[in-house]
């Protein structure tokens, strides 16, 4: 039964990390480290972006967890990483670790949605300046970027179709940017669109894909890379449609 409990802790830790957007190799590494700290020298872990497999030993039956929803929550990744450090150092017992992991699993995101939208809006405005836009385009990019990010969150909740939320959000975003220029609030539609599209860019996926490929996790690296490319294409297609109609 002891073995069962250890396995559950390992799987829970892996599940939280994978759902929060950690690299696949870090998930496997953490699970094996926790298992080793509790005396399982030969634990086997295999993670892909959609599933985790874990076995206590080479010949024991393997266990399987399916990952349905993935979000970006680096706060949780850091916390689980910290817990695995404590376990490796022998400072946490099995039941304590389990309780803390369950608590992390229950936690909601650190930053409320309004703060995230505000951050996205500010980042959009700043990106417009970084890409050599003028300060006159700062406020329009701020508004369009915030609206675009809010729309993406909204569509993600409403539609369960991947990539379509990004597509719809960028169509509306480009329309807003066009409106800003028509109402002569903004000057340069290119800079406004480029700046405000940045919060939708799949930055985490790109870095994770590269890091997973480097660690030799070819399957995870390729799938994440394809997801990143498809997301980028969805955004591009959305903006392109508006540009086709406008110009």
């Amino acid at each position: 039964m002891e073995e069962d409990a250890i396995m559950k802790v390992c799987l829970l830790a892996g599940k939280i990390m994978l759902q929060s957007g950690a690299e696949t190799y870090r998930v496997e590494d953490t699970m094996v480290r926790i298992a080793r700290a509790f005396g399982m020298e030969d634990a086997q872990a295999y993670a892909t972006p959609t599933a985790i497999m874990f076995a206590v030993d080479m010949t024991t039956p393997s266990n399987f967890v399916r990952i349905d929803q993935r979000a970006t929550d680096l706060h949780k990744v850091t916390k689980v990483n910290g817990i695995s450090r404590y376990i490796s150092a022998g400072e946490l017992t099995l039941s304590e670790a389990r309780e803390q992991l369950l608590q992390i699993n229950q936690e909601s995101i650190v930053f409320p949605v309004w703060l995230q939208i505000l951050a996205a809006a500010l980042a959009s405005g700043c990106f417009t300046i970084m890409f050599q836009g003028t300060w006159r385009d700062f406020i329009p990019a701020l508004i369009v970027g915030g609206a675009g990010y809010y729309l993406m969150i909204y569509f993600h909740k409403m539609l369960k179709i991947r990539f379509f939320a990004e597509f719809l959000a960028s169509v509306l975003l480009a329309l807003f940017a066009y409106l800003m220029v028509v109402l002569s609030l903004g000057v340069d539609i290119d800079k406004i669109i480029i700046g405000s599209v940045m919060p939708l860019v799949p930055g985490l996926l790109i870095t994770n894909a590269v890091r997973d490929l480097m660690a030799g996790h070819l399957v995870s690296g390729l799938t994440k890379g394809v997801e990143a490319i498809l997301t980028a294409f969805a955004i591009g297609a959305g903006v392109a449609i508006v540009l086709l109609v406008v110009f």
Binding site: T78, R85, A119, A232
Partner: protein, 157 residues
Amino acid sequence: MIIEQSVVSFIAAMGFAIIFNAPRQSLWQCGTVGMFGWLVYVSLARILDVNIVIATLVAAIVVGIYSQVLAKWFRTPIIIFNIAGIIPLVPGGLSYDAMYFLVTNNYDLAISSAATAAMISGAIALGLIVSEIINQIIRNTNWRKYHNEYDRKGVTR
């Protein structure tokens, strides 16, 4: 211009850290990663007029090394810092240009912009890989071999 760009990139990188729910206490560090990476890129590409692909490569290497240092120092997963530095380097403007030329039937210009955007993406990936290699070299070098009698005693100097 440098001050303007550094303030703006600091805020943008911190904004991204908030979007990705980075831990609260590491927000300002994410900001500095984004700022350093962007300053390296801007000073190479816009002031010294270096090829943008090379500038991106160097900036990505700087981001990789700096975030590795931060990750070791604060004992946090490295991706938190990596993302904040990498995102400004993503060729958003060039991809936009490529698409704009495509929909306005300028296929030649579209292909050249798309090719440059692809090369910049490759440079980002290569930069991350190179910084990882440099870090492994630093970690695995036997530093004691280079210590000599002057190092710790201080008396013979």
